[in-house]
């Protein structure tokens, strides 16, 4: 009896497993059908023309005023600024966007922007002087990058399409108005609603964040950490700058190797960040080309100038001569980089080829160490950001090279936040060398890189060399206001300051990485713009005929 029961149970079990297997097989067959439809890219006429993109950019906020992170990829396609700064080498410095023309007073303290009359926000309200005034005032008051508007005193709107910015000191309001962050013009009713509600934009309505821009795209769908769907804005005011696709579907893909797999498997049409070491292979596989461009990023190493032995300029110069720059570029950037000329990245104002560089010269390094009384060697510590893989690759080369001149370097990898907090707390006890990856908030590396990184402040903020040089600070103070009124004169002062900086070597200037991109053969992609490193302008992409 019991055996019989067991047997019938076994039959039932068999039946169940048989069904399961059949279901699984069916599913596989079905899925086989779906999979074969993949990778169609632009789609057929019946379906929307979709550009699918793998991008690493996550979204911290959908608030265009408070935004100060990687969401600029999407924001820059939804919102617009008054002007756009063109990449180095362009015929004009700026492209007019919401402003048609602009001029400034001789002293660089009054800037007048004339707005175009036909621009509208996505909800149909006109982009007028009041919207500009409110957007910029909001950015100055509580923006993520509020400090970029520090020179701004007041804004006048003499008429519907004229905006006058009154600055408390001379400053380049054109560059500031073209900034990546803090310069987007936002529809005023959304500004009002979000003033006291930080989450207004992100919470949105019906699960969709609020979009109050005037740009070529509207936000169509968003799944945190997973995808962003942008749709070509209906009735976009700028026919020439409109999208070539109905929809841009972005798969948020933080890992570059995964993005590579997606691109080569045909899951996406374009990947915004790929592993530098593989771009040539990827280009071969997808039949595209590798494109290089300037980027606003650079790597440098601060020397702690408050304590021995790095308070001695000769020791700092010796270390600067002991760095194998080309090897660092090969290891850190797979050769997609150039040796820095001071802390201003190539292509960003006030970069200049006149600023000298140190060469890798161990004899000179040893000589200088000897002159400084350290012929028998030194012991130093270096910290770098453990989450930065390039630093992890090139820092050991510095250690090896220093060993050749008798400098024993202890290397410590720390999370950037931790490294930074420690460095700011007590310079006397802090590290000797601090490796940092830096970029300017907007395209004026005079007030940003040169001032933030090496300008002196009582309490250290970003100057983690703790260097204090009165002549340098004086040159910066003279150059900054000239940027607003006489840019070539300002550039000359900055170059003088950079020459002094390189000579005194409160830091070693390592390399400026290039932006690299694989342009697949079936796409036309606009030029990479180093002034908007976090944004790919999707409207500049079109299918190749």
């Amino acid at each position: 009896m019991e055996v019989h029961q067991q047997l019938s149970q076994r039959r039932r079990f068999r039946l169940a497993t048989g069904l399961l297997a059949a279901a699984a097989a069916g599913a596989l067959m079905l899925s086989g059908c779906t999979v074969s439809k993949q990778g169609t890219g632009t789609g057929d006429a019946a379906k929307p023309a979709v550009l699918s993109v793998a991008a690493s950019a996550a979204v911290t906020t959908w608030d265009p005023v408070r935004s100060f992170s990687t969401e600029a990829l999407y924001m820059g396609n939804i919102y617009e600024t008054l002007l756009k700064k063109n990449p180095e080498g362009a015929a004009e410095e700026f492209t007019p966007v919401l402003a048609e023309s602009w001029d400034h007073s001789e002293d660089g303290k009054t800037w007048t922007f004339h707005l175009r009359t036909d621009a509208t926000f996505h909800n149909g309200t006109p982009v007028n002087a009041d919207a500009v005034k409110q957007s910029i005032e909001a950015a100055k008051a509580y923006g993520g990058a509020s400090f970029i508007w520090a020179p701004l005193e007041s804004i006048d709107t003499p008429d519907e399409h004229t905006v006058v910015m009154n600055l408390s000191y001379s400053a380049p309001a054109d560059i500031i108005a073209a900034a990546t962050y803090g310069a987007w013009i936002v529809e005023p009713s959304a500004l009002k609603a979000s003033k006291d509600d930080e989450n207004y934009f992100t919470t949105g309505t019906d699960g969709l964040p609020i979009d109050a821009g005037s740009g070529p795209y509207t936000l169509d769908a968003y799944t945190p950490g997973s995808k962003v769907v942008l749709t070509a804005a209906k009735d976009y005011w700028n026919k020439d700058g409109a999208s070539h696709y109905t929809t841009v579907d972005v798969a948020i893909t933080p890992d570059a190797v995964t993005a590579q797999q997606m691109l080569t498997a045909g899951d996406v049409d374009l990947a915004t960040s790929l592993p530098a070491e593989n771009v040539q292979d990827v280009a071969k596989q997808v039949g595209g080309e590798v494109r290089k461009a300037n980027s606003p990023f650079n790597y440098l190493a601060y020397f702690n100038t408050t304590k021995a032995p790095l308070n001695d300029v000769k020791v700092r110069q010796a270390l600067s001569y002991a760095i194998p720059y080309q090897d660092l570029i090969e290891a850190g950037a797979y050769s997609y980089a150039t040796q820095s000329r001071g802390p201003v990245p190539k292509g960003i104002y006030p970069y200049s080829e006149d600023v000298p560089q140190y060469s890798y010269d161990l004899d000179k390094a040893k000589q200088l160490l000897k002159e400084s009384g350290h012929a028998d060697g030194l012991k130093l510590t270096l910290t770098y950001a453990s989450e930065n893989p390039s630093e992890a690759r090139f820092v050991p080369l510095i250690k090896d090279a220093f060993a050749k001149i008798g400098v024993d370097l202890t290397v410590r990898a720390e999370l950037f936040n931790q490294q930074w907090e420690e460095a700011k707390s007590n310079p006397k006890k802090a590290q000797d060398i601090f490796v940092v990856y830096y970029w300017p908030t907007y395209s004026d590396a005079g007030v940003d890189n040169l001032t933030s990184l090496f300008g002196y402040t009582e309490k250290p903020f970003f100057n983690l060399s703790y260097w204090k040089n009165d002549e340098y600070n004086k040159l910066l103070a003279e150059a900054a206001p000239l940027t607003g009124s006489d840019r070539p004169a300002a550039q000359a002062k900055y170059v003088e300051a950079m020459k002094l900086l390189v000579d005194q070597a409160p830091g070693a200037f390592l390399y400026d990485p290039e932006a690299i991109m694989v342009v697949p053969k079936n796409l036309e992609v606009g030029e990479f713009n180093e002034n908007y490193p976090f944004t790919t302008f999707f409207a500049s992409i079109s299918p190749k005929a």
Binding site: V35, K37, P224, G225, K227, P254, N417
Partner: protein, 345 residues
């Protein structure tokens, strides 16, 4: 049985409480300013002061801890410092895909691990045993991210029969969007009869599932094989053989039933282990789960998110253990009786 469960749940809660204290302390004593994580390193000092005051970082740590605990109990797990959204909202979006992947992998590993283990135990040292040993040791020792890449290269690059990444094809959104029922997309597409999405989702599930299942599958197969060998030398097996019961019946019903408890223990533990293991697999397959969120949280010292993820991982472990204990009590009466007599915890 209920008393057994109650005492287990009680001790689990205590463990979780201690864990919050440890993780909270650890994430707050390392030199990283939560206000800087929130506003970015370039935020000026006045802005940081404003944020500290608004988010309560200027209060003493014990006060912050107590208010955090109070929040935990009332369902406010704090806001992520990097995404600025409530941690629970982040979880609501990201946890279901992770759990679906985990569930599929564990069920797959359990079914095939047991089958392979039993088959291998038939003739120890035989060719089949050798193959199973190779597969299981390979599965245990191969890092998930590497196995994932190999599977992608083979199934996607060479054969071109499976999708490389993601949870669904992008076309699904346009052709046959999924109606939300429970928030578990694969399950929802099944119950709403959305076969286009469901089959597409299954195709996307296969490679990450295999990758994630490799480790538990190897473990389960080895464990099943070992305990089958042990059980097969017991007297009652000889008796069954003497009664003339068929070999297959003895192996798959009598022996397996007695060999399964250790396998269940291993499954439970590896399920909890796989919860954090999914993080690697998710990165390789761009699976929209908790993995990347967890990695970002740790790198940026986003302490409310780190705490929540740790709590989730620990709760997963404790829950898996509890389920295993209950399952064992069902399979093996000795566990039940032992607990009633107070022998086992």
């Amino acid at each position: 049985m209920w008393r057994f469960i109650a005492s287990r749940v009680g001790s689990a809660l205590l463990v979780l409480l201690v864990l919050t204290l440890v993780v909270f302390t650890l994430t707050r004593v390392i030199p990283s300013d939560p206000a800087v994580v929130y506003a970015g390193p370039k935020a000026p000092p006045e802005e940081l002061a404003r944020i500290r005051e608004r988010l309560g970082f200027d209060r003493p740590l014990p006060v912050q801890y107590l208010s955090y605990l109070g929040g935990l109990l009332t369902g406010d797990w704090g806001n992520s410092l990097s995404t600025r959204r409530p941690v629970l909202t982040e979880f609501a979006v990201r946890l279901p895909p992770t759990l679906e992947l985990l569930f599929a992998a564990i069920v797959f590993a359990l079914i095939f691990g047991v089958i392979l283990g039993v088959l291998a135990s038939r003739k120890p040292g035989g060719p089949l045993d050798g193959v199973v040993r190779f597969l299981s040791i390979g599965g245990i020792s191969m890092p998930a991210f590497w196995l994932g890449l190999l599977l992608q290269i083979f199934f996607v690059g060479r054969l071109g029969i499976l999708p490389a990444t993601g949870e669904f094809s992008k076309e699904v959104d346009y052709v046959s969007p999924i109606t939300r029922v429970t928030g578990f997309p694969l399950f929802d597409s099944f119950v709403t009869g959305n076969w286009v999405a469901w089959s597409d989702g299954l195709a996307h599930l296969i490679l990450p599932m295999l990758t994630l299942a490799a480790y538990p599958l190897g473990l389960i197969a080895r464990m099943t094989r070992a305990s089958m060998l042990e059980v097969q030398s017991q007297d009652y097996i000889f008796t069954a053989k003497a009664y003339g019961l068929r070999e297959r019946m003895i192996r798959w019903r009598l022996a397996l039933k007695n060999a399964i408890p250790p396998t269940l223990t291993v499954t439970g533990l590896s399920a909890a282990y796989a919860l954090t293991g999914t993080f690697f697999v998710e990165v390789v397959f761009n699976w929209p789960g908790l993995g990347q969120f967890a990695a970002d949280a740790m790198l940026s010292v986003d302490y409310p998110s780190i705490l929540a993820i740790t709590l989730l991982g620990a709760a997963g472990y404790l829950l898996a253990n509890l389920i295993v204990d209950i399952a064992q009590a069902r399979v093996d009466p000795r566990v039940r009786i032992g607990s009633r007599k107070g022998i086992s915890a």
